[in-house]
């Protein structure tokens, strides 16, 4: 940890130094999120989601009983940053990998971490069937409507009109089809226990997203069925915006198509909620 950075007068500085002591610590990086610098671009939503997952696993005391399954995409190296056991899956196959791990280790917390291309395109079959079988796993689905790692191509969730490297004039329904709503689909499946869409662009949103991840993980351990937590995120590099602008753009455009909130919570109601 670095020294206190500020531009204050010596006396004030001393006062601050006094505040910075272990008893006063109220928030810091979860220990499970290790010291390696993440390879994500500045402001990337993946970082926040990683942090939340690490916090929840830590708070549940499950560090030695968790198997994470990482995807192909920007989060391919998720296994470098959270200090739990990981399996790196082939593109789209994480739910199949997680299915076997969970069935063979029922007392483990098994989750997949997938992007929109991984879950909503190449891996739809594995995702839908794992969710429909009610595998006691959680899928964390980060949807930023673009292929970040390969340089900003169209994703299955790219919004109509949104420009990407492979739809430079904007996505058009007649040429490229429509943005897919995986989470709405998942809510229709009898195997799912908790299906929700969250975001991580503000303090209240992050608090809610963390609660959602916690609930999904607890459901998995209680054997209630499959859980899907979609996080609508930003990709400032792919969208060619500053992180701040990306957040604002997301609120304005992404939320209009991808409504945030719980879509299904079998504790409350078996039927999916129409958002």
């Amino acid at each position: 940890m670095s020294e206190l950075n500020n531009n204050t007068a010596p006396q004030q500085n001393e006062e601050l130094q006094n505040i910075v002591c272990p008893e006063n610590l109220v928030h810091s990086k979860p220990a499970l999120l290790n010291d390696q610098t993440m390879h994500y671009c500045p402001g990337c939503s993946h970082g926040v989601v990683h942090k939340l997952i690490a916090e929840v696993i830590e708070e549940m005391g499950m560090a030695e009983k968790t198997i994470g399954v990482s995807p192909v995409g920007c989060a391919v190296f998720a296994y470098r940053y959270i200090d739990i056991d990981w399996q790196e899956a082939a593109h789209g196959r994480a739910p199949a990998v997680a299915t076997a791990s969970k069935r063979l280790w029922p007392d483990r917390l098994v989750f997949t971490y997938q992007g929109d291309g991984d879950l909503g395109c190449i891996g739809t079959a594995e995702a839908i069937h794992a969710l429909n079988r009610g595998e006691n796993i959680t899928i964390i689905f980060v949807n930023n409507a673009i292929y970040g790692m390969t340089g900003g191509q169209m994703a299955p969730t790219t919004l109509l009109g949104m420009k990407t490297a492979t739809c430079p004039d904007g996505r058009q329904a007649d040429l490229h089809g429509y943005p897919i709503k995986m989470t709405e689909l998942a809510a229709q499946l009898d195997g799912t226990a908790y299906v929700t869409r969250q975001s991580v662009h503000s303090v209240p949103a992050i608090r809610k997203a963390k609660k959602a991840i916690r609930k999904a993980f607890e459901n998995s351990m209680a054997g209630k069925g499959s859980n899907l937590v979609e996080i609508v995120g930003t990709c400032s590099s792919g969208w060619k915006m500053t992180p701040e602008k990306a957040n604002a753009w997301m609120e304005q455009h992404m939320f209009a198509h991808y409504h945030v909130g719980d879509l299904k919570d079998t504790e409350v109601n078996r039927e999916p909620v129409k958002l």
Binding site: L4, I19, H27, P42, Q87, A89, T99
Partner: protein
């Protein structure tokens, strides 16, 4: 008491200057540096107005890189820092204490090769089977569904949504150190190649049964041996090999399952049992292997310290099952390690059988069902006064190259009999190094040659 309520410490080296904390701070405490950069060249966040911090944690919550620690003067209403909440653990389908049937059945039973595979899996302590129905091997999954091993040994049986999913379930299960297997037929095995390559790359053990049918494409549901090349050359992308065992009887179908698991775990690599519709569908007498309990968690962890299952993480550090490595130097090293492993397998695991080679002038090389037919052809030929011997490779990879070279030294010619257009023949030619003629005979389209045809081919191509 101080009027300053809170303070933050920014891990400058982690900070990427994304500005999100600056925006999130309700008291405008933070700013990005304008001239100074960290060792990665990013401007970074600092307390520009330190006396206004209220210790609300907003900045730390939004920081994607976990750079900020927040301190607050009045400790928040005594909330225990990190408490492990109680987690209810659901009783699972795969208990690790096994109810292994006590009495050992060693009686002779009559069953199909595919059924023998299923029985053998349950008996040899297999933890999980994942498969997708396809002719001519569906009896494997059907038999398991009838045996219900989840009620006895705790073995998991799951019908996957595709062969692609099935092989990735194998990757997942094998990656946690469990003994897992799948079965399919040619068309489905083609779909599995991606997963098999991942298993070889990530060094994940697992057993794959291929009950071959004719191709190419959807081809036919009739038997064939035309996946020889695919099986013995790895089959997927990258430099790797899969250990390939070729049973020639229902008994060997049963026996090879456990042997395949032993090899898979000894070398941390996928092992294929390459059979075909003839052996899979044929009914024969078989003595099933004795029951062997599934490994306990402690036994598994001792055997597979590399496996990704959480057990012992604090002592051993993180286990990651992956085939990915972007650093070329590291990746070459990884590949060389794999190659060294394959070399070791080639040196130690070659298996074959010879019949009547001592006095033979001609050699037939055949595997699996073709070897059964060739054995008959051999006796027919001897009735006609042609001294023929049979060499049956049991491991197709590693291929018994040196053994064939040695044995062929006293022969006048070699015939490979394969139910394909001529695939193993190239390996046999490489083995005998052109000392003597090596011919191929086979039928295609799902037609299984009869022994008479084989003798005629031998006479025509080699004896004349």
């Amino acid at each position: 008491m101080s009027k300053i309520k809170g303070a933050v410490v920014v891990d400058v080296d982690r900070c990427k200057g994304c500005n999100l904390c600056v925006v999130a701070c309700p008291t405008q405490t933070l700013a990005l540096t304008t001239n100074e950069v960290n060792h990665k060249g990013y401007v970074y966040s600092y307390m520009a107005q330190p006396d206004s911090c209220i210790g609300c944690s907003s900045c730390a919550i939004v920081c994607p890189d976990g750079c900020i620690s927040v301190y607050k003067t009045k400790p928040a209403t005594a909330k225990p820092a990190v408490v492990a909440d109680k987690v209810e653990i659901v009783s699972g389908v795969a208990p690790l204490v096994n109810n292994v049937p006590v009495e050992e059945e060693r009686e002779v039973v009559l069953m199909k090769g595919n059924e023998a595979i299923a029985h053998a899996a349950v008996r040899c302590g297999c933890d999980g089977y994942f498969g997708y129905p396809i002719t001519p091997q569906s009896e494997v999954l059907e038999t398991l569904a009838e045996l219900k091993p989840w009620e006895t040994t705790g073995m998991v049986v799951l019908q996957a949504e595709s062969e692609v999913a099935a092989i990735n379930m194998l990757y997942g299960g094998g990656g946690t150190g469990k003994r897992v297997m799948t079965s399919s037929a040619s068309v489905g095995i083609a779909l599995m190649q991606e997963g098999i390559s991942y298993m070889a790359g990530a060094e994940v053990p697992g057993v794959i049964v291929n009950v071959q049918r004719g191709g190419p494409g959807l081809g036919t549901i009739q038997p064939s041996q035309s996946d020889y090349n695919q099986a013995t050359r790895g089959g997927g992308n990258g430099d790797y090999n899969v250990i390939v065992l070729a049973p020639n009887s229902v008994q060997e179908m049963a026996d090879f399952v456990d042997q395949a698991f032993e090899l898979a775990f000894k070398y941390r690599t996928p092992v294929m049992i390459l059979t075909d519709g003839v052996i899979g569908q044929m009914m024969e007498k078989v003595v099933l292997p004795p029951y062997k309990p599934r490994r306990t968690e402690a036994e598994l962890v001792a055997e597979c310290p590399w496996a990704s299952n959480g057990n012992g993480l604090k002592q051993r550090g993180v286990n990651v099952v992956t085939s990915l490595e972007l650093d070329p130097v590291e990746m070459e090293k990884k590949n060389l390690q794999l190659q060294a492993k394959f070399k070791k397998i080639a040196e130690n695991e070659v298996r074959y059988e010879t019949v009547g080679c001592e006095d033979a002038d001609y050699l037939i090389v055949a595997f699996g069902s073709a070897a059964r037919i060739s054995e008959k052809a051999m006796s027919l030929a001897r009735e006609r006064g042609i001294k023929v011997g049979l060499f049956r490779p049991i491991t197709l990879w590693p291929f018994p190259e040196a053994e064939i070279r040695e044995i062929s030294k006293t022969m006048k010619g070699v015939l490979t009999m394969e139910i394909n257009a001529g695939q193993m023949v190239f390996d046999v030619r490489a083995a005998v190094e052109s000392q003597i003629p090596v011919a191929h005979f086979g039928r295609l389209g799902g037609i299984v040659p009869d022994p008479e045809e084989v003798v005629n081919a031998l006479v025509e191509k080699l004896v004349k």
